[in-house]
Structures are given as structure tokens and as C-alpha cells.
Symmetry: C2
Subunit: 589 residues, 2 copies
């Protein structure tokens, strides 16, 4: 095998007259009389090879080349004739006259062409993932992911962070999502759990004096697949001691700025804006607002407090809200049918209806216009309506209003192209509630996790006789273009507060001790004040790649149907293996 | 909380007159009349704080300080008086006169002092790992490990390698060690396996055109604990396309040189020596020779071929060997009792005995001397014996001789301090046999793994009617100071050879297809020639840290007894969880 001297995609006019040795895949072969042209591809690009029949042996070899054959070609670089120049290719001014050819491997005809825009199913691409990888768009996506990892590694190292690996075989956690379990051979009948996050371990590292820790941590959740979720994921996991929220945000901003510079060549403006959680919910109806565009939610309670329109007044009287968004100069783009579809959609958020008016020729029209004529002037003024505006109202409980209008705001903005898809708008959402009510399980849970420090002035809410759910937390999320990129908090470093926190989450002292006694003991041995955050690497890579499915930035994702390749798929195992682990399979289907 | 301006360990005479804000742990407090001295520690070192009773409030606070309290101290740096200078401390010329003190957290009395040389059990240290972490020696070891990772990341990135993560939930492999299994919820009764290595995935990446891949890969083997083995480990995993063995070795040498320079400040000499596997076994009795010292094994078959000494002649007549090592100028250090202990020990390798002679005053003495008098001159000449030499002989089958003398060679060298423990001697062991006979399971197995390419001239041995076990492989191990640091090979990129290889390993075509069909299909779609290697990060960190137990470079190791902390220990899980996975626990002990 001859040694490669250059990548195909790098051969350009600077190499004219020089001999190059290239390895790559045959993109296509064209025969033109006594000449054969071969486009040879590697991940850096494509270069044109030329074989002429001066050398009948090589020419005969070249005639056997088919798509995706792997070859080494040695030849001399020359300029193409003027007419043959391809200005769309980096290598389009040159070609390589081949003097030596070695076929390194043959290929069957691939099930799809190795090109970006191909018409094949997602399933086929995943089945032949190794061919999918060869497409430039896949190379780019996985290289973007790798670049982010590298920039993160360098930035954190340069800032004094130490990379420490925490175990993958740990203890099942009573909080959070469903764990993947791993049966123990040493303790048959017992199970390890794969980590959902290294939270406890990184807090122990802080107790241990590693004051700036990071890890590209593998985490696991046994949940159903979604476009933006895989059961295995990687997080940029950070924890620091002796740092305030502001200092942690500053170091995170530096990290993001470094990634944006290295990968996108963009100088982001620092610091990122901060939004209080209450304000984010109020203005955007979301705790992960996309701030690339306005169309904010407007509270109209004062206008409709005494309204004759029962739907609005009733919502307010029930402790709810009337809020609206204004879709500027787009009333003509939304038919009644469009709006009815939205009305139907937002029922999933609990909304009973969607009221709307259009503003044209200085007056409101639409089905509810007649009910609000007495407020028309106030409304036009408040909302700054101009011709062809569409106003969408939701009147309901606060959370329903936020969810429904928050959804409408982002979906409409996407449809109307109200933002530049190449813009990256970061924002911190800070000061979250400490608890949130989980409707599914009908109880209060930790909004972030049970180790989150309440705001100093709110600690007293955890005392007996007070309402802990009024407390806000020293927590913060970093949001990018409407996605939660990451989040973190200052942690509890005091055993007494930790005990109260667990009590507020309905842990008995016995259960608190059984589950978290190890951490709570550690808090009593000189635990420093500490806090950190985690950023989702997969989502970060997805957003910087302009993708909408997390599978596109994961080399070997889990597939959403039963066609997982054998490298991934779970399989039956032998009875001997199970016996050793002390388990039985229930149902031998 | 005040913002930290400096680390304790960094405060020196350059800061005299300046105000510093320090965070750290109280190492100790000494009260001397109207002064309190506190040694304050962070991971960079210790600095002396001084409190005087000018400010009674701060002084009273200082009086409450105990070991491992966490404080912030703000004060002015001043030079110590001449008599108070401590030349053993980086900060020994200065002290900080504290003007503001905040106790950030208290500490119970720790179960052991936070210092390097402490007299406590390994078990206690692991139980209080978070306190163990605070000891400088542990900080150093984990920072060495992190530095290696960082150097590896930088070097490979700079050399065009792409970091790609492969799945942790994969398919159980029929080869290799025992897998950790993970029950699947989507396919109840089926199991994923945690990866023992990303071997198949990285080969698929090569098929996919990522021609230089690396990963700091987490791997798992459900094996019993040993000093140099943990069930979870991390490997520096590398794979390349279109590169020869020599090119892969060159890039690996560059990687190791970078690590040695960054972490140890050592310029290693490149290239590393290469040893054929046959020669390594012959000269050192080991496939992972420690070449920091000589004492090589000497083959004496020619001398003893016609010996009257039946033990020696018999071994040779049975197709075995008589080999010896010479322990120079140390005969007086080995009593008969010492040697008897060795004789006992090497029985585990199958050796029936250990013959020995001492050379003093120009003659051989010892129990077998009288049987070899007729060969004495030849022996003295061949072995270059001089006064006070000890010669140890083993006569047996080749493998027994190698194992026994290989062990004696390294153990004796360690006892006699025949090498500099701070020397790092790397050597490549190349050209391994393709197969090895596993006495345990009584069959031939792949010496490296079933994807290893035979030497070109040996491929024919895989054909029907030939003896595959004669084949040697395009494989290579990198050895450091007698430890296998890593290893790799050129892989099979041709389906036909892969099929023959699996057949030689007694796979039926059906089983070969069931287990490795996905890979073999991939080989038919333009798979490039490829090869790579894996280096054990944990072992690398252990050796560069001068440690002998892998636990010392892993933050949260598995413990070897039943006292695993609750963060790690496997636990019982609920019946609901098990039901969802379709498994039962057999024995509710």
C-alpha cells in the first residue's frame, strides 16, 4: 500500500506539476473515447482523476472501477483546460493524470448514492449507516460535534478545570426518569443503574477539593425515543466551588463564545441577556424562550377586568389571565381554517378556545370583535395595532395561557420566517421556582433537582409551618433559539437545609438517609459552597449543525423502530449467564 | 461570599503588601498568646494565615476554627520574620494577616488527617473518598490522569483525528470476557451489553470514511477485581484508514512523546525499539518485557543436548528447553531458603523445579553443580560468569520456561533495584501469533481479536487443508516498564479472509453471520484497509503516577469487599421495575 501524500479535497492549482498519492472512494467513472475520468472522494472533497490509454494496463484496470471502489492513485497534477474548469469545486481547476493505480477494495452497488440530497428512507440510511457516514452532510455533522468537544476541552483546561470520570455503574436514583439497570454478578438479585447524570459524584468531588471539575459525561435514561432525545446522551458537565451564580455564568459564557468562534467563526456578544423565570413565562409563555423575534405575550387583564365578554371576564374572575399576541401585518395570511387548526391544536395544553380579531381599515373584525367593541380603542392603543395585524387571545389559567400562546408564538414565527435561521440567540433564564407541581404523579417535585439551593431570602419557606412551594431557587438555564441548551444551580452545601429540602419532597428521614445519606454525611465534613451546570452536547451539536433530529449528530443512534442494526439491538442471552446474575426471563416468547 | 483572588498555594513574596482573598480548608490552627496561626489549604498548597487580637471580633471567630473548616479569608500578604521562614513550603516566606474572615462551612473531626503519609486502612480511605481526595497525593494522581487525557485530545486533534462516541448499549459479544448485561424494556427478555471495546463500531466508522478516529472510550468487563484491573475502564481508542503498521506506530509514538513531555517534562527518544514477539518470549520470557534491565534468558539447549544430567537432557528430548538467567554479583544475597521459595512459586507456571548454581572462586557450587561439571567451562564462557553470580535454570516446555524465568527475572530485578523506578522504557512487541491456545477452555482463540489481519505471507494458512495456527498477525503491543500499555493491529478488510478467520475459530457460517454479519456486509461496500490500537488510560495514569494500584487513579473505583459506598453499590429494585423489563429475581435472599 502506497503512502497517502494528500487528501483529494485539498488538491488545487498549487500542486500543478507535482506528484500526489491519493486514497479514496470512486464517486463516479465516465468513459470518453480514449479517456476515463474518475471522481475520487474522501471526506475533504472530490478530485478528478484522468486515465488515458497510453498505458493500456492501468487503463484496463481503470475500466473495472465502479462506484465506491476504494483505490490508491498516484499521478501528476495538471491544470484543466479552460472549458473543463468547474468553479463549483475546490479542486475544479485541476485534475490528476494517473500513473499508478491500486484497487484496495471493491464495492457492491450501494443502496443509495453517496451524496447529500438523496431520495431514500431514514430507515435505509440507518441500516447502512456506514454508507450514510460517507455523505458530506454526515461528515460535517459529526465533525461539528467533535469540534465542540475539542473547544470545550481546551477552554475548560485553560481555565483550570480538571477532567474527572465518574462511574457508569452506580446506584439507582429514586428521583428522575427511568433508569437502565445492570444486574450484579457479585450480589445476585441486586442491580446497578446507569447514571442519569453525575450529580452526586460531582458534588462529592467538590467536597474533595477539586474546585473546578468537568466531564464529557455519558448519561442514560430509559425513555421512549423522540426527535430531540436519545436514551444515551452526552453532557458537558461542570461543577465549581466558591463561585457565585454570576461567576459560573461568566465562565459558561466564555465556553460558549469559544465554541461559537471555533466552529461557526462567530463572535457572540457577551454577556448574554438574563431573564427572570417569571418574566420569561409572562413575556414568552415559555421557560426556554426564542428571543430572535418579538411577538411577546401581552397581559390584557386590566382592559378586560370588567368586560361584558364573559369568556374573558370569567377567566379573570377565576384567577386566570387574558393574554394576546399580535401577528404583525399578516392577517391576510391566516384564514379561518388556519386559525381553527390552531384552536384544535392548543387543546392539548388545556385551552378551551382561541379568540382572534383582525385589524383592517382602523377596525377590528372577526367572530369575537362584536363582544369587545367597548374595549376596541384601549386594545388598539395597547397593542399598537396597525393595518393587517392579527391578534390571538387566550383566556384561561396562567399556565394554559402561557403554554398555548407560547406555542403559537414560536410556530407562527417559524412559518412566517420572522427570524434568521443562522442567528444564534442565547439567553439565561434565572431564578426558577424551587418546586413544580407534577400533574402526572399529582405531587410537588424539585423543579431542578433536590440538591438545588433556595434563594437566601427564601430558605425560611422550608421551615415547619411555612409553604415551601413559595421558594425560588438559585438556578439558571442557558437557552438557545428556544431550546434548553443546559442548566444548573448553586447546590445545597449545608446538611440541615438538605434535610429540609428532602422533607419538603415528602422523604421520611429514614428514606432520605437511605437514598442520600452518603451525600449528607459528606456535607458535614467541610463541604465548600458549590454549584455548576450541564450542557447537552447532542443538542448543542444539533443546533449548531442546523439539524432538527438528534440522530443526525450521533454516530450510532438508537432507531425508533424494530430495525435496529445488530450492533445495537438487544438480544437473548444464555441461561448460564442469567443464572450467574440470579435472574430469570419471565416470558420466553 | 467574597470572590477568590488567588489560590493558597500560589501566594508568595511577589504579593507582599497586596490584599488577597483566599478560599480553603483549615489544615491546622495554633494559638500563640495573642496570635492565632492557621494553615489554610487548597489543592495548590498551604499558606499561613495570621490573626492578631487587635480585632477582637475576627480573633474570636478564628478561635472557633477547627480542622477542615471551610473559610474565606481576606488579608494582606507580608514577609515572615527570618526565623519563621519555612524553606520547605512554596509559600514559606510569607504569611497573610487576616482582616476579614467568613466561615463558609464547618466540619466534623475527620477520621484521618488530610496528609499524604497517613496510617489508616484502604477501606477507611475509600469509605471517606471525599476526604481522601483532599490529600495532595490523590489530587496529583487524578490531575495526572486528566493531563494525559488533555494531551491526548490535543495531539490527536492536531493530527486530524475526529472524536466520535460509540454506543454504550450494544450487542453482547461471543468473544472476550464476561459482559455486563442491561435488560431492554422495549424488548422484554432481551439484553443489551455494555461494550468491552468499541471494536466493531470503529471499524464501521472506517468503512464510513472517517479515516482518523479516536475516542476516550468507556469499556466494561464483568470480571473480578485485581490491583491493575477495574470492571469499568477507559481506553484511548484509535482507528485509522490507509495507514501501515509503521505509520500507526509513528503516530502513537508522537502521542506518547507528547504525554511524556506535558506530564513528566521528559523528551522520550523516538522511535521506540521494536521486538518481534518470538524474540521477546525468547529473550525475556514475556510478551510485555521490562527492558529497563538486562538479565535476559539464555538458551542452553546446545550445551545440554547430550548432558548426563537427566533433568536437562530429558526436557530437551521432550521438545523443551533449558534456559537460564544470571543474577550478577548477587549469589550472596540469595539463600537456599530464598531460592526454595522461588521454586515453590514457579510451580504455578507448571515448572517442576528450579535448578541453580553459584559461581565463586572460579567454580560452580550448589545442588546441581555436580551433574554439570562436564559442561562447566562452556557454561561459564557462554554466560560470562564472574565472581558471586547466581545462575537460575528452568528445564521444561517452552511456555513453562518462559513464564517461570520471565517471572523470576522481573521479581529479582525489582528486589535488587536493578533499574531506575523513574525511567520509562517503551518498547513495541510486534508480529504476534494470530492464534493462541487457551488451556482453560481447551481451544484455539484469537490472540488479539478475530478481526486481526494475518501477515500477508501467512494468509494462505487459513485455507482449507492448512494449519491456521501457524499464521502470524499484523499486530503490535506497546509495552511500558513490563506492563502492556496498549495494543492493536491491522484489521481484516476483506470479507473472504474474515470468513476464513471465523471458520478457523470454529464458527459455523450461520453463527459467523448471526454474530458478525453486519460487519461482514460492511466489508463488501468499499471498506478501506484500516488498523488501529487502544491504550489503557487507567494503566497509563497509574504508571506515570508511580502507583501500583489502579484504584489510585480512578476517582470512584469499585471496592474489593462488601463495603462499597452507597453511590456505587448495587441495590434491590422494585417488582414493578423488573416486571417492565420482563425479568424476575430468582432468589430473594
Amino acid at each position: 500500500m502506497e503512502k497517502r501524500t494528500n487528501y483529494c479535497g485539498d488538491v488545487n492549482e498549487q500542486f500543478v506539476g507535482k506528484t500526489v498519492s491519493l486514497d479514496g472512494w470512486v464517486q463516479r467513472r465516465r468513459d470518453l473515447g480514449g479517456l476515463i475520468f474518475v471522481d475520487l472522494r474522501d471526506y475533504r472533497g472530490i478530485v478528478q482523476l484522468v486515465f488515458n490509454n497510453d498505458d493500456s494496463e492501468i487503463f484496463a484496470q481503470a475500466e473495472t472501477l465502479r462506484s465506491e471502489y476504494v483505490i490508491n492513485a498516484i499521478g501528476t497534477v495538471r491544470l484543466r483546460g479552460d472549458k473543463a474548469i468547474n468553479p463549483n469545486m475546490k479542486t475544479g481547476k485541476v485534475e490528476v493524470v494517473v500513473e499508478k493505480l491500486e484497487i484496495l477494495n471493491k464495492s457492491k452497488t450501494p443502496p443509495f448514492e453517496i451524496a447529500d440530497d438523496i431520495d431514500t428512507t431514514e430507515e435505509t440510511k440507518l441500516k447502512y449507516r456506514y454508507l450514510d457516514f460517507r455523505r458530506p452532510v454526515m461528515q460535517k455533522a459529526l465533525r461539528t460535534r467533535a469540534q465542540i468537544k475539542h473547544s470545550v476541552n481546551e477552554y475548560l483546561y485553560d481555565n483550570g478545570f480538571i477532567d474527572i470520570e465518574t462511574p457508569n455503574l452506580g446506584k439507582s436514583s429514586p428521583e428522575g426518569a427511568r433508569d437502565y439497570l445492570v444486574p450484579s454478578r457479585v450480589y445476585p438479585g441486586s442491580f446497578y443503574a446507569l447514571p442519569q447524570s453525575p450529580q452526586l459524584f460531582k458534588q462529592l468531588l467538590m467536597v474533595g477539593g477539586f474546585d473546578r471539575y468537568f466531564q464529557l459525561a455519558h448519561c442514560f435514561r430509559d425513555e421512549d425515543l423522540r426527535g430531540d432525545r436519545q436514551p444515551e446522551f452526552t453532557q458537558i458537565d461542570i461543577e465549581t466551588s466558591f463561585m457565585s451564580t454570576e461567576e459560573i455564568q461568566e465562565v459558561t459564557e466564555g465556553l460558549i463564545a469559544r465554541v461559537m468562534k471555533d466552529e461557526k467563526g462567530i463572535d457572540v456578544k457577551l454577556p448574554f441577556p438574563r431573564l427572570e423565570w417569571d418574566d420569561a413565562m409572562d413575556r414568552y409563555g415559555s421557560d426556554k424562550p426564542d428571543i430572535r423575534f418579538g411577538m411577546e405575550l401581552q397581559n390584557l387583564n386590566d382592559i378586560f377586568a370588567d368586560s361584558e365578554f364573559k369568556v374573558f371576564k370569567g377567566a379573570i374572575d377565576n384567577g386566570g389571565q387574558v393574554k394576546a399576541i399580535v401577528v404583525k401585518d399578516a392577517a391576510d395570511k391566516y384564514s379561518r381554517k388556519n386559525i381553527d387548526a390552531y384552536t384544535e391544536y392548543i387543546k392539548r395544553f388545556g385551552a378551551k378556545g382561541l379568540a382572534w380579531v383582525k385589524y383592517n381599515d382602523d377596525k377590528l373584525t372577526g367572530p369575537v370583535a362584536k363582544f369587545i367593541t367597548s374595549h376596541e380603542d384601549d386594545l388598539v392603543k395597547r397593542l399598537g395595532l396597525t393595518n393587517n395585524d392579527l391578534v390571538l387571545f387566550v383566556a384561561d389559567q396562567k399556565k394554559v395561557v402561557a403554554d398555548a400562546l407560547g406555542y403559537l408564538r414560536t410556530d407562527i414565527a417559524k412559518n412566517l420566517h420572522l427570524y434568521d435561521p443562522n442567528e444564534f440567540a442565547y439567553v439565561w433564564v434565572v431564578n426558577w421556582p424551587l418546586f413544580e407541581y407534577d400533574e402526572g404523579i399529582q405531587r410537588w417535585t424539585a423543579a431542578h433537582h433536590p440538591f438545588t439551593m433556595p434563594n437566601e431570602e427564601d430558605v425560611h419557606y422550608l421551615n415547619d409551618g411555612e409553604d415551601p412551594h413559595k421558594a425560588y431557587a438559585q438556578s439558571y438555564d442557558i437557552v438557545l433559539n428556544g431550546y434548553e441548551l443546559g442548566g444548573g444551580s448553586i447546590r445545597i452545601h449545608n446538611r440541615e437545609i438538605q434535610e429540609k429540602m428532602l422533607k419538603a419532597l415528602d422523604f421520611t428521614p429514614e428514606r432520605a438517609n437511605a437514598e442520600f445519606g452518603y451525600l449528607m454525611d459528606a456535607l458535614t465534613y467541610g463541604c465548600p459552597p458549590h454549584g455548576g451546570l450541564a450542557i447537552g452536547l447532542d443538542r448543542f451539536a444539533m443546533l449548531l449543525s442546523g439539524k432538527e433530529n438528534i440522530r443526525d449528530v450521533i454516530a450510532f443512534p438508537k432507531n425508533s423502530n424494530a430495525t435496529e442494526p445488530m450492533t445495537h439491538a438487544p438480544a437473548r442471552v444464555s441461561k448460564e449467564q442469567l443464572d450467574e446474575l440470579g435472574i430469570q426471563v419471565e416470558d420466553e416468547k
